[in-house]
């Protein structure tokens, strides 16, 4: 009765309902399916748009530098297939398994991060060593580290959910782990990813319910630390200055942002047409990776961008709803961590591309070229889908599944 009233009267966008736990099983299944669809449809659409945009934005670079227009597109298509496979696996794998897998996964990720720092093993691009080469495949350990760290922290916080206000309980395992992972990433050097990592952990602490006082201190400490890191490195300082004064030196440090703004600005309302970008003829650097949104904006204009931002928004909305309806604390934290990480990375990338934030060199989830990023993002969506599915009444649903299988 109550549930019915809520369903009719309540706005569909409501995240949390006081009587969530008393919804009828049938409604729970419907809600779960709706959330899963709300998650998967935008994710799939973003991956598809990403493929198209990678082809459009990379063909000049691929052709002039490697002799084949389709080089990056073909690779990205392969990664999308691999990512779809990974997503299928993670969506079928009970998410609770990640609780046990969290520590081994993190250990492997840390080992890979150490390996990438070895000059012989890593592939250097753009001045930093970010990739490990396994035959034809380049693997970016920091992308896996994101998921590993989030999983680990979510598991940790779920276990300590009753000691969240105890600083020692919290900081003792958390601080060393986060420092090691972020430190290794900074050594690459990749400050952008380190920021994403620490912000995701911060967000997890927030969602877990850590006292605001602690959070504010942590945020202040993090800001001071990142400021120090930025100012200690000349190229980061230059980027920051370029962000503050983009037209000051468009030929040099401000070049990335300047070209990105030209691309977006010349897109106008409806864009110059799909595949018709001119700024991707070498003007926007990293057009198919970090700055793919600039090319998208140029080609499909503000209207197309609204569509893309809506897809990201729906995905985040679905993810947060899944977190809200998650069956247990770990599920809630894992879902929130994943969606928070994807959301933060989206905002940081778009902020940099539009000149609202300094350029940190992080890819746009689902859209930017990059196998590791795409596969890990899609696998994460699979985890979210599984959490969503598990929020429907478990035993019966599982039973029917098993019987059917």
């Amino acid at each position: 009765m109550a549930s019915r009233a809520v369903e009719v009267a309540g706005p569909r966008l409501r995240l949390v309902r006081p009587d969530d736990r008393v919804v009828s099983p049938a409604l729970a299944v419907r809600l779960s399916r709706r959330n899963t669809a709300l998650l998967l449809v935008p994710a799939g659409a973003l991956v598809a748009v990403g493929l198209i945009m990678v082809l459009s934005a990379s063909s000049w670079t691929a052709y002039t530098r490697y002799g084949s227009s389709f080089l990056f597109f073909r690779r990205q298509a392969v990664y999308a297939v691999v990512g779809a496979g990974a997503m299928f696996v993670t969506s079928r794998m009970r998410y609770t398994a990640w609780r046990r897998l969290a520590l081994p996964f993190l250990v492997v990720a840390v080992l890979l991060l150490i390996m990438v720092l070895q000059p012989s093993a890593g592939t250097v691009a753009g001045g930093s060593a970010r990739w490990l080469t396994f035959g034809p495949v380049n693997v970016q350990p920091s992308e896996f580290a994101k998921l590993a760290l989030i999983t680990f922290v979510a598991a940790l916080l779920a276990r300590k959910r009753n000691h969240l206000q105890d600083l020692v309980h919290l900081a003792l395992p958390l601080l060393p782990v986060v420092s090691v992972v972020c430190g290794l990433v900074i050594l690459q050097p990749d400050l952008g990813t380190a920021l994403i990592l620490s912000m995701s952990v911060f967000l997890l602490l927030y969602v877990a319910g850590v006292r605001m006082r602690y959070l504010v201190s942590a945020a202040a400490f993090g800001s001071i630390l990142s400021m120090a890191l930025i100012l200690s490195e000349p190229y980061r300082r230059a980027r920051l200055l370029a962000f503050l004064h983009p037209r000051h030196d468009p030929g040099n440090t401000g070049w990335h942002l300047f070209q990105s703004l030209i691309a977006l600005g010349s897109g106008g309302w409806f864009g110059v047409g799909l595949g018709a970008s001119r700024q991707d003829w070498g003007y926007v650097p990293n057009a198919h990776t970090d700055f793919i949104f600039s090319i998208l904006g140029e080609e499909v204009g503000l209207v197309g961008e609204i569509v893309i931002l809506t897809l990201f928004g729906l995905l985040i909305f679905a993810g947060i709803r899944i977190a809200a309806r998650a069956p247990d604390a770990f599920g809630r934290l894992l879902a929130a961590g994943i969606v928070g990480w994807l959301g933060i990375q989206t905002v940081v990338n778009l902020g940099a591309v539009t000149g609202l934030m300094p350029i940190t060199g992080v890819p746009l989830p689902f859209l930017s070229y990059g196998g590791s990023s795409l596969v890990v993002s899609m696998a994460s969506v699979g985890i979210l889908a599984n959490i969503s599915r598990c929020s429907a009444p478990g035993p019966r649903r599982k039973a029917t599944r098993r019987r059917a299988g």
Partner: protein
């Protein structure tokens, strides 16, 4: 649970902020960024037009354009400035200490190393594949005959603009119209497919076909150089003209220069003295006085003038070149013996205004319109400003100044039966390959009657046969001509120096003139025109006979004369 809502709120606000920023960028600032985009991607290249050639009357090349290269350096890309400088200096004959600052210039990305380098040499430099050294295709003006009519042709600066002579005067026709290529390019400068792309093709310049004959020009120059040297003179001028068409077949000035290396030459040699320098004509001017007197029947041909040794006219005492006792002379004798006193008496019969009118009718005081830039009009004071002594000097060529071409045209008028034809240097143009467009016939006007022209011709033939022009005689051909010896006025004060211009102007064959030749020798060591310049006339005339295939013609009778003629 409230914290999850906070999370959603934070993301919605962030995405909303980004959307706001995007709308500002793509709506209110879109035009600005579009302009910036085009500005950085669209490049306009000037497509140079090929400069037209300059050809002689048989379309032999006198000035052509060759492919060449400008060599430049991008100091930012030069790897080894010193090594590069040494190699470039060696090949291009430049100095290392001049090159080094260019190759190391701070903040510069373009420095010229050498301009208009010959293709062969540029290829050698290119073969060194020096980093930071680049090549631009340009064209270079080349004068295959070297110093042949250089003052007529002029030359072209490194920017492809004519600086002197016909290259300057016909810059517009020769240069054509450069084209323009507007192209949207990628960051490496390659065209963007489907981008802005507009090409206006260049229009090649016209070829100029001159009236000059390169062989005659060459021989005239050779003879002129030799005569100037033999007379220890300062310089000289030769003009060869066809009296019937006004075509200038040769126009030479000495000393000359090589237009291929004009930069190292003395700029004083650039002037085309045949049209730009005005001399006092001296005795060659007596022809005008005589022609006017005959045309106006001011004197009769049989009339004998009593010519004293000296004559005082309005306070000026005039002499003849050689002292002589009082003699009785006809007009023919006066012209042949070049008597100043006699011609002043003839002019007195004519009167000042009629005489002045004939000076103007023969083209004095106005440029001939030959089509050469900077042509002088000479100096002819208006008749109301003539001094008391003007009629005592102008009849024999003092107190006025004319260009050699103006004077040659006077004789061409006599040779052409009394019709003045505007001299010309341009015979026609070739617009695109093989579409030859002949220049219109030169304008002409009658100055004296054909009868007058014949009589004056007889007088001039008499002057060569028995008078002052004996050194201009050519066996088998009857030459009509007149010597001139003009004292040069001081440049800085009034009065006359002891420097002279010796001239001879004549035509042949007298009965059917095919060619007019004017020669002037500036400051010869031997004073008299007949001695200094007549042999030069003779030599050029012999070449002209040979080159133009002039056949001997019947002789004209001599005019009535009083003097003893052998």
């Amino acid at each position: 649970m409230g914290r999850l809502f906070g999370l959603l709120l934070a993301f919605v606000l962030s995405l909303g902020g980004i959307l706001l920023r995007l709308s500002v960028l793509q709506v209110s600032q879109a035009g600005e960024y579009r302009a910036l985009a085009l500005n950085q991607r669209v490049h306009t290249l000037t497509l140079p037009a090929t400069r037209g050639d300059i050809l002689d009357r048989s379309r032999e090349p006198l000035a052509i354009s060759l492919d060449a290269r400008d060599i430049y350096a991008d100091p930012q890309l030069v790897a080894d400035p010193y090594g590069t400088a040494v190699k470039l200096a060696d090949l291009l004959d430049l100095k290392v200490r001049d090159l080094l600052p260019k190759l190391t210039a701070e903040g510069s990305t373009f420095e010229y190393i050498a301009q208009q380098v010959d293709l062969d040499l540029a290829k050698q430099v290119e073969a060194l594949s020096l980093p930071g050294v680049g090549f631009l295709p340009v064209s270079k003006r080349y004068y295959p005959a070297g110093p042949l009519a250089p003052q007529v042709l002029g030359f072209v600066g490194v920017d492809g603009v004519g600086l002197e002579g016909l290259e300057y005067g016909y810059q517009k026709e020769l240069a054509g119209r450069p084209g323009r290529s507007t192209e949207e390019t990628d960051i490496d400068g390659r065209p963007i497919v489907g981008g802005v792309n507009a090409t206006v093709p260049p229009k090649a310049g016209e070829d100029l076909v001159l009236t000059l004959d390169r062989y005659l020009q060459y021989q005239a120059q050779a003879a002129l150089a030799e005569a100037v040297r033999a007379n220890h003179a300062k310089g000289g001028t030769v003009i060869v003209m066809d009296p019937r068409t006004g075509d200038v077949l040769a126009m030479a000035g000495y000393p000359w220069f090589d237009p291929n290396r004009f930069r190292g030459s003395d700029p004083e040699r650039f002037a085309n003295t045949a049209v730009s320098a005005a001399f006092e004509p001296g005795s060659v001017n007596k022809t005008i006085t005589a022609a006017a007197a005959v045309e106006e029947h001011a004197v009769s041909l049989q009339q004998r003038f009593s010519v004293p040794a000296q004559l005082r006219v309005d306070g000026v005492v005039i002499h003849d070149s050689h002292p002589h006792a009082r003699e009785r002379m006809t007009l023919g004798d006066i012209v042949a013996e070049s008597s100043n006193i006699g011609i002043v008496q003839v002019a007195a019969k004519l009167g000042q205004s009629r005489f002045a009118r004939y000076l103007a009718k023969f083209g004095f005081g106005a440029p001939t319109g030959v089509g050469f830039p900077g042509e002088s009009r000479g100096i002819l004071p208006p008749v109301d400003q003539w001094s008391a002594s003007s009629m005592a000097t102008i009849p024999f060529g003092q107190g006025i100044a004319v260009t050699p071409l103006q004077m040659a045209s006077v004789y061409a008028t006599i040779a052409n039966g009394g019709i003045w034809v505007q001299p010309r240097l341009i015979r026609g143009t070739v617009e695109t390959s093989d579409s030859y467009r002949p220049a219109p016939r030169s304008p002409s006007r009658r100055v004296v009657s054909e009868g007058t022209a014949q009589i004056v011709t007889q007088m001039l033939a008499y002057a060569v046969q028995y008078g002052t022009g004996e050194n201009a005689r050519i066996p088998g051909y009857q030459v009509a001509g007149k010597t001139g010896t003009a004292r040069k006025p001081f440049v800085d004060r009034s009065g006359y120096s002891h420097r002279y211009v010796a001239s001879f102007i004549g035509f042949l064959p007298a009965s059917n003139p095919r060619v007019v030749i004017a020669v002037m020798i500036d400051e010869p060591s031997t004073v008299y025109g007949g001695i200094a310049s007549a042999p030069l006339f003779q030599r050029v005339a012999r070449y002209a006979i040979e080159r133009l295939g002039i056949a001997a013609a019947s002789r004209v009778p001599l005019p009535p004369h009083a003097l003893h003629v052998p």
